[in-house]
Amino acid sequence: MIPTAGHSPPPFFKRGPAPLARLLFFVSLSFVMLAADLRFHTLEMLRQAIATIIWPIQRVAYVPVDAGMDLSEYFSTLYSLKTENDQLRRRELATANQLLRQGHLEEENRRLRALLDMRERQPAEGRVAEILYAARDPFTRRVIVDKGSSAGVEPGQPVIDELGVLGQITRTYPLTSEVTLLTDKDQAIPVQVQRSGLRAVLAGAGIGALELRFLAANADIQPGDILVTSGLDGVYLPGLPVARIVNIDRDNSFSFARIDCEPLAGVERHGQVLILGRRLTPPLPDERPLEPVTPARGARNRKAP
């Protein structure tokens, strides 16, 4: 009988340490890894190395899906392409007015800002990347894009598509990088209501939804309002569209309204995205602690007789 877990007959054959001992060893090793990754973030080097080794397998695994998408694209009819083309041309014409005047307006804006002695807005620059696939982890909302640290991508850069903000780069590998979508629970973005200028923080709420937090129940906000980035965080450029308000639940028993939003960008779709350059944050004003006001000694301490 070969020793199995739970009971151990006298060992006739050498089989190494007992199963329970091995279990304890590997479980404690896993816990050490969990703690090292979560608390100290010291395993990034190991992760990078393993990711580079398994990158070819991942690339090959992507081939059938890629081929399937190419095939379906090939069979998309001439008619649908033609209508799409027409639509795009019409949209281009509709926005031509703004596009043509953009350069002129930017120049004018720069001059006006100089006149007003305001800090210049940083021009947006970016690089185009393609979403490869959604990460398999069911607990988070992340996608993998095909530009990595070898293309100069750094953690923290914002990612947008043609409709609005998509998310933020949270981890880079040599050839790919991970984008945490706005709908992830841990992702928050400072926004501004376009109509009223009200500032707030938008946080992810899990499956394809967003939540505007900590706004008073009587705040000036209504369904259909567009939220844009406020730029207060120094990460996102101000004015990028983020989300639309879907539903407001003003319950007086809570001090804050419950506001559900939907993202404007195609957060759960695949396609091409733009990774914006890192924004140069203006230096913070030095924080000098206020000198405590000490009452003049003597005058108050003296007790009236």
Binding site: L23, M33, L34, L38, I54, I57, P138, T140
Partner: protein
């Protein structure tokens, strides 16, 4: 007839490279990006469990830990999450391995079901403990689908070990 311990069908010894190859193929299958279909079975867990039950001396907790670390990186999850869950799975399989093969395959699948779902529950607890969202409830269906695949999987993975079935009166076995 599918071979079990009680079916008296004797199998050829397993080829170590075949075990390695199937584990690699399972890793490959896990990496195929099929969108966000939540109830996808975890192929690595399934194949690992199969070999831990059928070859407990070849595949054990060490292999489970290594595969778990690879899955952690491929999945972009926390380092150690899959490793811990797979090690527990390998331990459960080694406890069961002497007993489970005497059952018919349907009952084997019923043994496998709590191990696969338990693996997912361990991962769920780790992630909830560090403050992740509760995932799509259909995600837990992955283990159920995995155990439903036990029958075809057994046929497929034992195929290289089958002997020819022609009878020879002069041969002892």
């Amino acid at each position: 007839m599918q071979p079990t311990q009680s079916s008296r069908r004797i199998l050829l010894p397993v080829n170590s490279w075949f075990v390695f190859g199937t584990l690699l193929a399972a890793l490959f299958l896990n990496m195929v990006p099929l969108g966000r279909f939540p109830a996808m079975p975890d192929w690595v867990a399934l194949v690992l469990l199969f070999w831990c039950i059928h070859q407990p001396l070849k595949v054990g907790m060490g292999a489970a830990f290594a595969l778990g670390v690879l899955m952690d990186v491929a999945d972009a999850s926390i380092m150690g999450q899959h490793a811990l869950a797979y090690v527990m799975l390998a331990f459960g399989a080694s406890v069961l391995s002497r007993r489970i093969l005497w059952f018919p395959l349907i009952q084997q699948a019923l043994h496998v079901l709590p191990i696969l779902v338990g693996t997912q529950v361990i991962m769920l607890l780790i992630r909830l403990a560090v403050g992740a969202n509760f995932p799509d409830p259909f995600w837990l269906l992955g283990g159920v689908i995995g155990s439903a695949l036990w029958y075809p999987l057994t046929y497929l993975l034992l195929l290289p070990q089958y002997r020819p079935v022609e009878r020879d009166e002069n041969r002892p076995i």
